[in-house]
């Protein structure tokens, strides 16, 4: 059974979101990394890029396929996880910590309410 930490928010497309004031940290869930298997490359967004809800922000490439990672919220990319360039497998080994992908400065913090809770995400996985 994959891990779904209770303190995080989730999307239907298997991103997790950690909200810290007006900053959102985004990565992919344990379930998603298991499904993708060995991650071999992460295409990171550019710092300063603007995101829309559900716009493609990054691409995670596993041995098998390329998968789009969506920005869950409207805002601006303020930081990306440069260590994924050297070691993309952090997405597999530490999806919720060292394998985070990018940070967004959120335009409207209240929009985060529309994200799924851990319980809702667990139900979504079925």
């Amino acid at each position: 059974m994959s891990q779904i930490p209770e303190n995080l928010k989730y999307t239907e497309t298997h991103e997790w979101v950690k909200i810290e004031n007006d900053i959102a940290i985004i990565g992919i869930t344990d379930h998603a990394q298991e499904e993708l298997s060995d991650v071999v490359y992460v295409e990171l967004p550019e710092k300063g890029a603007l995101t829309e809800e559900q716009s493609t922000a990054a691409v995670v490439e596993s041995v098998k396929a390329a998968s789009d990672i969506y920005a869950p919220l409207k805002g601006e990319i303020i930081e990306v996880n440069e260590s994924l360039a050297d070691d993309p497998s952090l997405v597999n080994s530490s999806p919720y910590e060292n394998g985070w992908i990018f940070k967004i400065k959120i335009d409207d913090a209240s929009a985060a309410k529309r994200l799924k809770s851990s319980q809702e995400y667990e139900e979504h996985l079925g």
Binding site: E34, D38, Y41, E61, V63, K64, A65
Partner: protein, 370 residues
């Protein structure tokens, strides 16, 4: 995608699920894509050994006094020259010289042949063969349903074989042997799809789970792992073995695919598609299937990505198979390239989501066992 419940299952499907394999759809079959992870399984096969379920593949028996003659009209390699208990790689073409399927053909007696074909093409292969068999005294028998296949691949395959069959003679490369195992007929061929030494075992479906477990029990201490289709694909790509449906297709000829050595234009019987191949050989094919390796870090190449000459504006080809090589630790693949650019050591660019990465055309295979 169809629901996983509606898919065909090999006799080993339950064993895979019990062992924790991730199951996916492949050509209408429920198949394991991986157990522990594609890269780990890949290295197990390169260093030690790996065991694969290949029961989804199609198995035909073609027999009759005219079986060899008939197959020589349907397949590119020289069937008549095949010795009893030997096999070879061969291709079945359409009228335009394009590939319907690539397969292994074994001669099991003077007038009996065993064919192992791709799962996705099985029905098409069978109807193509039947359509052309009318004028020949041959019987076509599809034994796919009742046949299970297991592939043991890797440098320690011989050692494992000796543990499994201490009193049997080991077949040489491309040979096939038949014997009884646990009261049933078993075929053992020294063939594979990984670029490593190995064996392929064919047996009745009801024996598959027992044999699978026995092999794993006998080889666990040798670093052998059960493997899924994911590793099968990365292994065959490093070895530059083409995958039908990606590198081979009805619009691609074996000459273009670099498989000339499996095409015998001078055999007595003409075969379907021969005229087109002859023309391609005399004029030179317009495209060639080339191996490449990426020269910089970046996203891995994937099939259908476009290929350019350095700084070129128009595409010169297309990637047909791509991925990351676990052995070379870089992006590799096969690409169909216009002939004038298709020279080894030529630099190319591959477009990945609007950006270009530098790669170089390389000799095949990209990885060769030492």
């Amino acid at each position: 995608m169809p629901s996983l419940d509606s898919l065909k299952k090999t006799p080993l499907a339950e064993v895979h699920e019990e062992m924790g394999a991730r199951m996916v759809e492949f050509s209408g079959w429920l198949m394991p894509v991986q157990y522990e992870g594609i890269i780990k399984e890949h290295h197990a096969v390169r260093q030690n050994a790996g065991l694969f379920d290949i029961s989804h593949m199609g198995n035909f028996i073609v027999s009759g006094n005219q079986a060899a003659e008939f197959l020589d009209t349907m397949l590119t390699n020289h069937v008549g020259k095949l010795e009893i208990n030997s096999g070879h790689y061969t291709l079945m073409l359409n009228e335009r010289g394009g590939v319907i399927d690539d397969l292994l053909l074994y001669r099991i007696s003077e007038a009996t042949f065993y064919l192992v074909v791709n799962a996705a093409k099985k029905d098409e292969d069978l109807s193509w063969l039947k359509k052309h068999a009318k004028d020949f005294k041959v019987t076509l028998n599809d034994v796919s349903e009742e046949t299970a296949g297991l592939a043991l691949q890797g440098p320690r395959s011989e050692e494992i074989f000796r543990r499994l069959f201490p009193h049997k003679e080991m077949p040489f490369r491309n040979k096939i042997e038949f014997w009884k195992w646990s009261g049933s007929e078993m075929a053992v061929a020294r063939t594979g799809y990984t670029g490593e030494d190995g064996f392929e075992f064919f047996m009745p479906g009801e024996k598959a789970a027992t044999f699978w477990n026995l092999v794993l029990e006998k080889c666990q201490d040798l670093g052998c792992k059960p493997c899924g289709l994911g590793a099968r694909d990365t292994l065959r790509l490093e070895a530059c073995l083409p995958l039908n449906g990606s590198d081979l297709a009805p619009g691609i000829s074996p000459i273009e695919a670099g498989l000339k050595m499996f095409v015998k234009l001078n055999k007595e019987q003409s075969f379907v598609g021969r005229a087109v191949l002859e023309e391609q050989l005399s004029q030179g094919p317009s495209r060639r299937l080339m191996a490449f390796a990426v020269k910089q870090t970046g996203a891995p190449p994937r099939s259908h990505y476009l290929v350019y000459a350095p700084k070129g504006k128009e595409p010169i080809g297309e990637v047909t198979s791509g991925g990351v090589s676990p052995m070379l630790e870089k992006g590799i693949g096969l690409a169909l390239i216009y002939a004038q650019y298709a020279k080894v050591n030529t630099d190319i660019e591959i477009e990945i989501r609007g950006k270009r990465i530098l790669a170089k055309l390389e000799n095949k295979p990209l990885y060769k066992r030492s």
